[in-house]
Symmetry: C2
Subunit: 323 residues, 2 copies
Amino acid sequence: MPDLPKRVQINEEGPREGFQFEKGPIETRRKVELVDALSRTGLAQIQVCSFVPPKNVPGMADADEVVKGFTRQSGVRYTALWLNEKGLQRALAAGKLDVKGSIALTASEAFLKRNQNRTLQENIEAQRRIIEMYKEHRVPVERGSIMAAFGCNFEGDISRQKVLDLTQQVLDLAAEYALEIKVFSLADTMAWATPQSVKRMVGAMREKFPALRLALHLHDTRGMGIANVYAGLEMGVDILDASVAGLGGCPFAAHKGAAGNVCTEDLVFMCEEMGIETGVNLDVLIAAAQLAEDIVGHPLPGSVMRGGNLKTLRERARAAATA
Amino acid sequence: MPDLPKRVQINEEGPREGFQFEKGPIETRRKVELVDALSRTGLAQIQVCSFVPPKNVPGMADADEVVKGFTRQSGVRYTALWLNEKGLQRALAAGKLDVKGSIALTASEAFLKRNQNRTLQENIEAQRRIIEMYKEHRVPVERGSIMAAFGCNFEGDISRQKVLDLTQQVLDLAAEYALEIKVFSLADTMAWATPQSVKRMVGAMREKFPALRLALHLHDTRGMGIANVYAGLEMGVDILDASVAGLGGCPFAAHKGAAGNVCTEDLVFMCEEMGIETGVNLDVLIAAAQLAEDIVGHPLPGSVMRGGNLKTLRERARAAATA
């Protein structure tokens, strides 16, 4: 048996992933309702929204109102996404968010072109401007990430060497600005990973960068999400992004059946059943997943919210046995 | 890296799992169409139907006609399910099926009561009568299985010791009748397994019964199917049941969101991407999955049929790079 982590940190990305992707429109108060429901689950981090131009992502036009609307729970970090200084300023102005920076590169130049109209080199220059902006606003930067780290619909497979090289570039950039990267996230943006490629990639990263704590951001478009998480856990990864009910998808990935992140409650279920602490109350989370489905008005991909928590069935079976 | 098998055998159960579960009615010719489509995928074994009383399973009332209707492809084994002598006689009378027997016990007495109205002991007696029936009809018996091997919605967790004991009982029964069990299947009928419990159970089985070739039949009701398959592969399991598009579910399991077996094309995708041969043409199988969805008239849980085969995207990316 490999050593699974004792405890994992799950970063809930459902509100951001979901509401940027859903055609909607979804009322602001319902978005707030979901954030508040997630705040009561025990999840330690919730990404509330992205501050991006409404013409690019209409579902995020009310991001400022969503942030105004939700009720902070102590012990929960509330985060947001931004792509430029204007976005960062909105996040800072909100006064309710845990604003932290990260240095993010993308492994696929073809994807970068479509998604942000940049070359790899232009993206590195853009990161310099972003780091300078963080410095100026005194925003801490302890996280690096590589998008499309396992493959790209437009560029094909991404080699481990490329990811290692890009990781080194992130660390070099950080060093230039006297920043220390502690957490490094690999994103399978377009769902190219398999459990085997996750193990190999994480293994290569661990070997080359033993000091980095690794995180995985895994999309479930080809149904590999939960198996890829398991492979990551087996390699000791203990930070995972996930999306309640499986909300979301990337609007730029050109998938017919664009699927969101791996489903939070399915992930919590797997971890808890395997003795890995998540800090989350699964029943409360299942209720939040059902709320998410009600809010978007169509079925979402999560399984445990339909299949049910085994804890409940265990208790019922125990009661029946002693009756 | 653990040693994954070089090659796996996938037993397609979609037509049987699906058409016994779907409310329908589904025209016989469409069921035949699906079997014929699956016959062209490279799958080596297809379970076509179950011969059970129509009053219990209305969707199988036309089982004899389905068997009459499909076209045998050489190299493909066509199987069926039955629960009693009448069912077996129908399977034999069809003259087109690969009729093989198995000795099957169920780990949960509570489930057995609901499903077949038998105690564990009565079930063993019933197996004796079934074995005698196989002897009489000269049906070969080389397979054993345990249903509800990982847990039961009505009885709770199932211990590894219980499964080991029941496996021994199957082998003892076989020995009584001078039969040799070569393949042994563990069925997660109600989706209680996690990758960890799969590894532990398979490990315990391997240790106690090293001569048995193990198979897994995994339902996906709680979204763990593909991760559980991966855990099985890591333990060297090389026979897997699966269901095209994720068709099916157990009508007696009392699940709200009863989900079928792990999805065949998602499983084939994972194996092929990891270098494990399946013998299956994924594009042809994806077309069969889309046909299955068309036949049942509602979305089915498979992911790769929506997310797409990476092979196609790789070729497109290669073409774009050289253009």
